[in-house]
Subunit: 220 residues, 2 copies
């Protein structure tokens, strides 16, 4: 690991993420991963002590920056609608720009495994923070009084599916797709539809503040 600066470890992560996306975690064997990397199956264990830790590393690469982003959106000042719009844009763009194929990470229900409890907790935290943001917007009269949990789930589902779409037919740039998602959600939840242009303008000024919270992990 020290010799190559973690290059092999990263290749394992990249290939594993592709296979997880294609066949799911349980449907992918450590031999499958090793074959793609170009090594023997036991050699994987020079870099990861268990198969679960491969998935954990991939999940963390997504979850840790994502949590930083939603926290940034919560801490920023101003109207909730603009912060939500900016957050969605940054989140989608960031996920679509990850070096890993994240499509398979949340498909399977492996997140319930006790070995991934830490990651499951991180994800729950992101959901809680998202709900908090929505709740603030509803309480302040900016957003339609939908059930908060429903809106959070709607956003989660939208993000997951947009990510899944990328692999099948990557239509449009990440930035364009990110704007689509943000617009779609805000049109749905914004109480006064006439404010959408204003929300977009305010969001544009917030995007850099949220983006810089998430330090992208460089991978060869």
């Amino acid at each position: 690991m020290t010799r190559g600066g973690g290059a092999t470890r990263d290749r394992i992560l990249v290939e594993a993420s592709r296979l997880f996306a294609e066949r799911g975690y349980h449907g992918t064997s450590t031999r499958d991963i090793a074959d793609k990397v170009g090594m023997r199956q036991p050699s994987i264990y020079s870099h990861f002590a268990t198969k679960h830790l491969i998935l954990a590393a991939l999940l963390d690469a997504d979850l840790v920056p994502a949590r930083a982003r939603v926290r940034a959106a919560l801490d920023l000042p101003g109207p909730v609608a603009a912060r939500l719009h900016a957050y969605l844009q940054v989140d989608v763009a960031a996920i679509l720009s990850l070096p890993y194929d994240v499509r398979g990470l949340y498909n399977d229900d492996v997140l319930r495994a006790p070995e991934l409890a830490e990651q499951a907790q991180r994800r729950a935290e992101i959901h809680d923070l998202t709900r908090e943001l929505i709740e603030t917007g509803i309480g302040g009269g900016e957003l339609v009084p939908f059930d908060t949990g429903f809106v959070q789930h709607a956003i989660t589902g939208l993000l997951l599916e947009v990510v899944r779409e990328r692999g099948a037919a990557p239509s449009g740039t990440p930035a364009a797709r990110a704007l689509d998602v943000a617009d779609f959600v805000l049109r749905a939840v914004l109480l006064d539809a006439r404010l959408l242009d204003d929300v977009r303008a305010r969001a544009a000024t917030l995007v850099p503040g949220i983006s810089t919270m998430a330090v992208p992990r460089p991978v060869g």
Copy 2:
């Protein structure tokens, strides 16, 4: 199978659907299913020739009525917005009322397996018909000119996540959740937000016509 009128077969399907939802298809063994049903593992093969056929039966129970519903929505007369609203309501309510736990059916990427090609094709057909409905609405100036594929994926993601939510914390009745989904999507895509009340009223008259297209499968 003939003696009990397929009762055991249905119990296998019910228990399998719950386990698939909990651990995914690959994460569930035929022994797990047999244990829940209360029989030995090889006895499963008196009702299903392969494990894939269990999943295929579950998928068909969802996909076949779903295809009928979207076809009905396409064939009905009147504005697209109302038809889309009605379709979404009926679809969500129908899925939430299924005797099976459908949460795990589309999580894994087993649908790519050649044994499930027929089901994959059915699902693709549903997506195509949905896109057609949206395209009509955009062309007719009723809906916001989002990318058609994006809207279809957004709807798919929303439906999947709402279904997933049910198992975790079933908040609200199926009908209430169905209305939430329909409202959320139509607020997002309706060009003139002021028409929403009218769309809802028109949709209410269409709901029976779409519902009756889908014959629910009785299961004990």
